[in-house]
Symmetry: C2
Subunit: 501 residues, 2 copies
């Protein structure tokens, strides 16, 4: 079982897999290769990790032909294939990576993508719609995406189909005589006409996105039979390694947890609000929120509200004070419970990406991706390597949200252990609230110190300028509800230019 | 277990459920009602059919408040709720009902929708954006949607929250003094200001969409406690009946199958194309198709290609001759196999709706919804009542597609029994094609007369002006491939105005 070799440094185009395959040799090889591919695909279905093969290239018609060949060779019923066009108006309402997340093949499936992020960045750079800095940042972003996928068990194979300058020139000459490939587009002409410009550009794209976890296989498109068989074998190798046990990479050591005081200890749990003042403030803030949400919608801003906190801390009640103030069409509440079967077959962040709202619509997460570094960490549902890398993955996710017009606000509702037990008892004595309380809740309570420690590390590692944590004293529900509304209104006011909220 | 009573004829608003519930009575009733609701919801999850509760009304703030109340009373983790705003730019790329299909609750789930099709048609009519004829047609369309859902086992409950003219006037007077409900919008003012205009309109909407399968419950919004408890009880009844065995409605008797000759018998299976002519024609048509598809994309047309035919008739090969001609970004191929677990929890057409492409993008179905009246009918996978109603459901589905800019083309590839057995044998002797052939294929072959009969009825009942069947002689693969391309190009040429393809 060979994996495609990893290139280092530049000159990756020159090192393209070249060669010729005579028709007779091709026909001798083909039946065995196709049989092996179909069998490997079936084996993957029953046992394997997800495999993602992406096809791009300066030889765009060649890449397309290869995409078609793979559909013919493999059992197309079980291919999660996608040919990426520019985002349509619906996709543009979401962060740029949203559509790639949605299209990820689940465990046991083989995804084949044609074009996509890297190819489109290259195209935008060629058209001068991106400058060098933007290109570099967008390549880094893709690299982080791949690192996450690899950590989640994906086998990644990136194909680059390459023609030499001479071959490009030949094809264009033929096409300009009205012969040969008729599906060339503007960009193909641009590449063919100006090899000096695009060669270093492609080299940069390849070099910056080269890694052991997601290696490039650069294949010459000059000889179709050689191209197809070379790629067929690489796909076979990828399918094979996806059926093997995943070698878990040791996680980079993190600095030891800070000995700084836990910010939760500084929360003043005696804060409270008398009923009459509460009623007035609540009404005032709700009215303000209604107006601010309408303006945020018009501005295409997406408030992303995250609620965490102890069991029975009052998350649901705080959320209702928000939703009752605004039009039901302007928000979605997402309640996070255990992942479904389908969700478990995807990377852990997938189930949060899928619940994002389009631009202009608020989304409220009642529990969230922070479960990874709270309950999953403390209860051991995630390995240490997995929850440790989650901090960076979360920061990256929220940065993508913020970059796409989201206002990320994270609330941790804090109550002390005595208040919690009082609320548990009250729930047990209310017939229609009994379902909210289980043995687990009592068990979790005993692990309060471990949760405190996890929360402290979470605040330290994920509190950012654009996605800050709000620690809310919640022993008094009234105080907590008004404090949450205050914070949301303040954030919206700051984000909305012009007239005061 | 009481079901909401069915109203007949007009005057449904006058007959609204009215009443007052004192606070003490409300508080006495509430704990029991909430407990029953949560328990019924759990029972539904393990055993039940899907339930869909829609909330609309001339009392829009009241309908919204009720939506919030249901979220508080029920276990919101298991509510499939949706508050319908006007379609966003992404949703507008699909037929109007696409987003409703996507949001349908699966078996065992309770969906609660606020607003939606009927409320928005009422609004559009009030704004004179629809005339009476359009309104009537759009109500009929909704009725057909409900009939389909009911036939698929849905328990439907439609709530209309109503205020009298006097109550509307009172609310507006209060709001204009800056008090009371601050979330009123333009449309609420229009309704409140002009009861003479909207009352008959609402009566018409209610009367035209009233049915036993999807009854209206009209509830006065004047007393909130009464409104909430009345609705809570109706939801409880709906949950209850969803856990009972579905009473299968006897299907309307269809006219006896026509004794007219089977159109397949008239297909000339001797048609063939010599290799050299085939090569030329294929290349010519593929080049033409490339241009036509680009123009169709620019015009926002959606070609919907459906391939049916005998096993081994050459569907895959015919499809590849299409896809190889055009840009991979411009089409999606959907291969229909047995429905997944998730698909089985939804109405049978759901899995086809979900695979539609946005406007401008071609979709090719390799097998399709016609399996319902072919294999599912012949093998007994669908009951007679189910496949019999499928003809109308299919015609309606395709009419919706055509109405939303789709060009529906349906191909049946016809081969005779001898040719089929030759192809089966050839597949068995090709290692990488073996997976395409199973015992089932041989078994199905013995049922050829039953399939012939089913196909004849299918052609007769589903061939329409806007979604015609093309019967393609396919004993000669070359003939079939060119005939398919000819038909696609001809359809596109006719649909695209201006210059000849």
């Amino acid at each position: 079982m060979t994996r495609p070799r990893a290139y280092t440094g530049a000159r990756m185009l020159e090192a393209a897999e070249k060669g010729k395959l005579a028709k007779a040799d091709y026909e001798a090889v083909l039946p065995g290769l196709r049989t092996d591919l179909v069998n490997a695909q079936y084996e993957l279905r029953s046992a394997g990790r997800p495999v993602l093969v992406t096809i791009a290239g300066d030889d765009r018609p060649g890449a397309t032909a290869l995409y078609n060949v793979l559909h013919e060779w493999l059992d197309a019923r079980y291919l999660a294939s996608h040919a990426w066009a520019p985002p349509d108006p619906g996709e543009e309402l979401y962060p740029p990576f949203w559509r790639y997340w949605r299209a990820l093949p689940p465990k046991g499936a083989l995804g084949v993508w044609l074009g996509g992020w890297l190819q489109s960045r290259l195209r935008l750079r060629l058209e001068d719609a991106l400058d060098d800095g933007e290109l570099a940042r967008s390549l880094d972003q893709y690299r982080r995406f791949e690192v996450l996928l690899a950590a989640e068990g994906f086998v990644l194979l990136k194909l680059w189909i390459h023609l030499s300058n001479k071959q490009h020139a030949k094809r264009l000459a033929k096409a300009s005589r009205g012969k040969g490939e008729w599906r060339l587009d503007e960009n193909d002409w641009r590449i063919g006409d100006d090899p000096e410009a695009w060669t270093p550009l492609v080299e940069e794209v390849l070099a910056r996105t080269q890694s052991d976890a997601a290696p490039w296989l650069v294949v010459s498109g000059a000889n179709e039979r050689h191209r197809d068989v070379t790629v067929g074998r690489a796909v076979l190798a990828a399918l094979g390694s996806a059926c093997e046990e995943k070698a878990r990479a040791p996680s980079a050591p993190l600095p030891p947890p800070s000995s700084a005081p836990n910010p939760l200890d500084a929360v003043d749990l005696t804060a409270e609000l008398p009923y009459e003042i509460y009623k007035k403030r609540l009404a005032k803030r709700q009215r303000e929120l209604f107006g601010l949400v309408n303006r945020a919608e018009a501005a295409g801003l997406r408030p992303v509200l995250v609620f965490q906190g102890w069991d029975a801390a009052g998350k649901g009640g705080a959320i209702r004070r928000i939703t009752h103030a605004i039009d039901a069409r302007d928000y979605r509440v997402v309640r996070i419970a255990a992942p479904s079967e389908e969700e478990r077959r995807h990377p852990w962040l997938w189930r949060f990406w899928r619940h994002l709202t389009p631009a202009g619509r608020m989304v409220i997460f009642d529990r969230s991706w922070y479960g990874r570094v709270l309950v999953e960490r403390v209860e051991g549902f995630a390995s240490e390597a997995d929850w440790r890398r989650a901090y960076d993955e979360i920061v990256d996710f929220e940065a993508q949200l913020a970059g796409a017009g989201s206002l990320v606000m994270k609330f941790f509702l804090h109550i002390d252990a005595d208040e919690q037990i009082r609320r548990f008892r009250a729930r047990e004595h209310t017939p229609y609230k009994k379902y909210k309380i289980t043995e687990d809740d009592y068990r979790n309570r005993e692990k309060r110190p471990a949760y405190m420690e996890a929360a402290a590390e979470m605040f330290a590692r994920t509190g950012t300028e654009t996605a800050p944590w709000h620690l809310v004293p919640a022993n008094d529900k009234r105080w907590a509800r008004v404090a949450v509304l205050d914070a949301i209104c303040a954030t919206l006011r700051r984000a909305l230019p012009g007239k005061a909220g």
